[in-house]
Amino acid sequence: MTILSEKKSKELLTKVLSFSKADECECNLDGQVGGNIRYARNTVSTAGEESDVTLAVQSTFGTRTGVATINEFDDASLEKVVRRSEELAKLAPENKEHMPIFGKQKYLESKTYFDSTAKVTAEDRASAANDSIQPSKKNKLVAAGFLEEAVRFSAIMNSKGLFAYNTSTNVDFSVTIRTEDGRGSGWASRNYSDYKLLDTAEASEVAIAKSKGSVGAKELEPGKYTVILEPAASVGLLGNMMRAFDQRSADEGRSFLSNKGAKEDEPKNKLGQKMFDERVTIYSDPQHPIAPAAPFGGDGYPRGRVDWIKGGKIANMPNSPFWAKKTGVDYQPRGGNIIMEGGNESLEGMIKNTRRGVLVTRLWYIRPLDPQTLLYTGLTRDGTFYIENGKIKYPIKNFRFNESPIVMLNNIEAMGKPERINGNMIPPMKIRDFTFSSLSDAV
């Protein structure tokens, strides 16, 4: 019982629904098979393989809903899980925000499955780890890394005729390579749907170069700097911002997208307003060729391309079916990825055109300070360099930043070609006046 085919999933879920006595019933079947390997101090520390399938059944009587889940699939267990969800539904209080489940839907073609990832073995993982450890050892450096891959399937069926099925694959690799004396540290990460694209030796060379290059960091005064953020450095701030996109909290006055102090007849949120540099366009697209996502969400509603920010203006906000109905707008579920349009400049070109600035590999421990302004704090990590007159001059000590992605996306100087990171597409960006508030001794 691991990765079920569309046909098998359909048969199983049809059987589950046949047990239902509720007004409405919806079933989600999700499973995955995957493995991982972890290494540190240039040796393997842990490794494992896991597989799991879970069936969740949601039953509704009127506006009372209950959910029960099981991971056994004989007929008796299937009937039991339906009965349990019905019992819970009867115990649940009335929900005045309850919305009916969706009927039959049409979906875009899925692009999320790659056979190469499904075929990865423990030996492949060990060999990929070795490709990272060996160059590190040769350079008298110390590697710590993690490789994890999985194939997943997801099927949804409900009593209103909806059926959705998707399979997907994902591989994540990251490595931190430090000098033996702890004075230098470099990092690189790779994320693909297709395992064939992964080259741990290539990624490790990047981390090795940054590790060696970061030894002997000098102190720079905290303050406002032009920064060049690699995609791994900006994805955290952008991800936080996109998670805060929500129509309901905006309408309720508790979001950066609220129209502060709006009168009764004024719009409650900032839909349509320009908030960012006009070069900023961020959207979700399940069919993106490099960072695809499932063509439906957990409720079976189809996903298509949707713009969140277009030309610097707020183009859409995700909402719930209840809030959409209440406010008389279309239901807009969250997307499965964040795709940000970029520009034509290369990272090297950006460095070349910078008189004085800071190159940031990644940001760490990002935490919110003020949800009204989306002010966040965090630190640079594993490769921070001073740029002067178009050249990387020397490594610098890590900084703490206190900055808002709203400010960041208004201060764009240049953008490069988007790269895949954590299932999203983010361009390298050159940003002016990025606020560093203090220095850190951490390497």
Binding site: D30, Q32, N36, A40, R41, T43, V44, T46, A47, G48, E49, E50, A56, V67, T69, I70, N71, R84, L88, L91, A92, P93, N95, E123, A126, A129, I133, V142, A144, F146, V175, R178, G182, W187, D246, E252, G253, R254, S255, F256, K260, S320, W364, Y365, I366, P368, L369, D370, P371, T373, L375, T377, L379, R400, N402, S404, V407, S438, D441, A442
Partner: protein
């Protein structure tokens, strides 16, 4: 952490909580079943241990776990979600060819268990190709058959759902009546029924209970909006924690009410409503140097980040370099016996034995009896937190009992124990600590927190901020965060309250490892003063 490990509770927006769920949902009555007795667990565990030994394991342990969770989430006058989850299975860890191997299964047939143990050995042997330093375990004497339970008075899972829902809706009502426009409140209950067996001859059955009742209240005004989280703590207690006894309330003159061994959540919600109104109108802090007086519900997190994490031996050694990071508290500093972690009144200790704490168990997840030990004594760094396979690296031969796994499915590894600050021998109150401060800020509750990967530079916010002038709290202020360096900060510690003020706070979801696992851990401390700390203003125009 993988997104699939979370469910989203409490609706969208600022109040939403992402929670790790390791189990599957079941009905309430199912949670009370005890499907497997100890004799049966012992039989199954022995199958795993014997199968591992037969394949060449030199050591093996088996953890048979049944993990129950219940989550009730509400917003305003509505219940958002009621979820019961259960997860049961076995995890087998072995040493073969001097290398760790691990495998787990939810299929509890004898054959499946034996095959899982064999798989763990196969993983160990495969990985031993790249092993350069064979695992060396500190000795542990088998304890035979023993059992232990968190000392609870009311098993929270047995309390009817209706009582829980009514309590949370009363909390919401209290906040809304007193000034909040929105509120999300939740109740999280955890019961870990875990059985540990090892080839050392230990068969340990433990029943661990934890509870947390957080809320986030929001007020919206023409000035914008403000939030205030509850000041209660996650605890290793039953439903009795929510009785809110008078003797457990600590009142700080001109400021908030603190809670000791029980929590009046309705009172706290009402206070939150009033304080939110004040927060909307409060003046913004003038940045600069201040003497800080930190209440225990706030300081616990500063201890967690600036003491608990840097003194985890796996971080010091580099095992977490690719994720959580390493540590500034390197072995040479410890070996010198002179590293001044804090001022000489700073005494920080570790334990998994403190009553009401989240880390409280009798044995850790590799069968080591728990204990208390010093980390920082009279300001000097004296020890770390370590597991059986690590202590030899710091020339010790007894594990500290810091091994933990979030479920049967995941391998156990070194996790933070409770780490606490000893109170002043003189039994001073919070007011006594405040009374000598000329220019200061009193901070209550945990807010935003961020620290670098070696635990030098940190920045912390809070829930409530009060200006102190000439020994008295004068006004509620806003937009406060302090930035400091761990060693500098602890060396600026000048005074603390005594044992009557000592409170245990904690965190339910401390994340570490790859794949990431969560752990619950507590930190005890009294109200404490730190001099001349850099305070920044977090308000910003965008």
């Amino acid at each position: 952490m993988e997104r699939r490990d979370f469910i989203k509770l409490g609706g969208y927006g600022a109040g939403a909580l992402m929670l790790p769920i390791s189990g599957v949902a079941v009905s309430a009555e199912q949670l009370l079943d005890r499907p497997m007795d100890v004799a049966q667990k012992k039989k199954l565990a022995n199958i795993a241990l014997n199968a591992a030994k037969a394949k060449g394991a030199t050591y093996a342990d088996a953890r048979i776990g049944r993990y129950l969770n219940q989550f009730v989430t509400t917003r305003e006058a509505r219940v958002s979600n009621i979820v019961n989850t259960e997860s049961a299975g076995i995890g087998v860890r072995v040493i073969a060819n001097g290398t760790w191997g691990f495998a787990s299964t939810s299929n509890m047939t004898p054959d499946s268990i034996a095959r899982t143990a064999e798989k763990a050995v196969a993983v160990a042997i495969a990985n031993s190709k790249f092993q350069t330093a064979p695992v060396k375990l500190a000795p542990v004497k088998g304890v035979g058959d023993v059992s232990w339970q968190t000392p609870i008075k009311k098993n929270a899972i047995e309390i009817p759902i209706k009582e829980k829902v009514d309590l949370l809706l009363s909390v919401n009502d209290a906040a809304m009546k007193n000034g909040a426009n929105f509120i999300n409140s939740s109740l999280f209950l955890v019961n870990e029924q875990k059985y540990f067996a090892s080839t050392d001859g230990s068969y340990i059955d433990q029943d661990v209970h934890r509870l947390w009742a957080p809320f986030t209240a929001t007020s919206v005004g023409p000035e914008g909006f403000k939030q205030r989280n509850g000041l209660g703590n996650p605890v290793g207690m039953g439903f009795e924690y929510l009785e809110g006894k008078e003797e457990d309330k600590i009142r700080v003159s001109g400021a908030n009410i603190g809670y000791k061994n029980s929590y009046d959540i309705i009172e706290d919600a009402a206070e939150a409503g009033k304080q939110l109104k004040a927060k909307l109108k409060a003046k913004s802090v003038e940045p600069g140097k201040y003497d800080l007086v930190l209440d225990p519900a706030h300081l616990m997190l500063t201890i967690h980040e600036s003491v608990g994490h840097p003194l985890e031996l796996d971080r010091v050694l580099g095992y977490e370099a690719n994720f959580a990071g390493t540590s500034f508290a390197t072995l040479d500093k410890w070996k010198s016996k002179k590293f001044q972690y804090g001022s000489d009144i700073v005494n920080l200790f570790a334990d998994k034995t403190q009553k009401h704490s989240l880390g409280y168990v009798e044995y850790d997840d590799e069968g080591v009896k728990t204990k208390e030990w010093d980390l920082v004594k009279d300001g000097i760094l004296v020890n770390y937190q370590a597991t059986r396979d690590q202590v030899h690296m710091i020339d010790q031969n007894e594990s500290h009992g810091c091994s933990y796994s979030q479920s049967w499915r995941d391998v156990q590894f070194q996790r933070m124990s409770n780490v606490s600050l000893r109170p002043n021998k003189e039994d001073l109150s919070a007011d006594d600590v405040i009374k000598d401060v000329e220019k200061g800020i009193y901070i209550a509750g945990r807010g935003s927190f961020s620290i670098d990967q070696q635990r030098y530079n940190f920045q912390f916010g809070g829930q409530l901020f009060y200006e102190i002038k000439d020994g008295k709290i004068v006004d509620q202020i806003e937009d406060v965060a302090y930035q400091s360096n761990t060693q500098q900060f602890w060396n600026s510690c000048v005074q603390m309250a005594g044992k009557s003020d000592y409170r245990v706070g904690g965190t339910f979801f401390d994340g570490k490892g790859q794949p990431s696992q969560v752990s619950a851990v507590s930190h005890g401390c009294p109200t404490t003063r730190f001099n001349n700390i850099n305070v920044i203003n977090t308000a910003r125009n965008v």
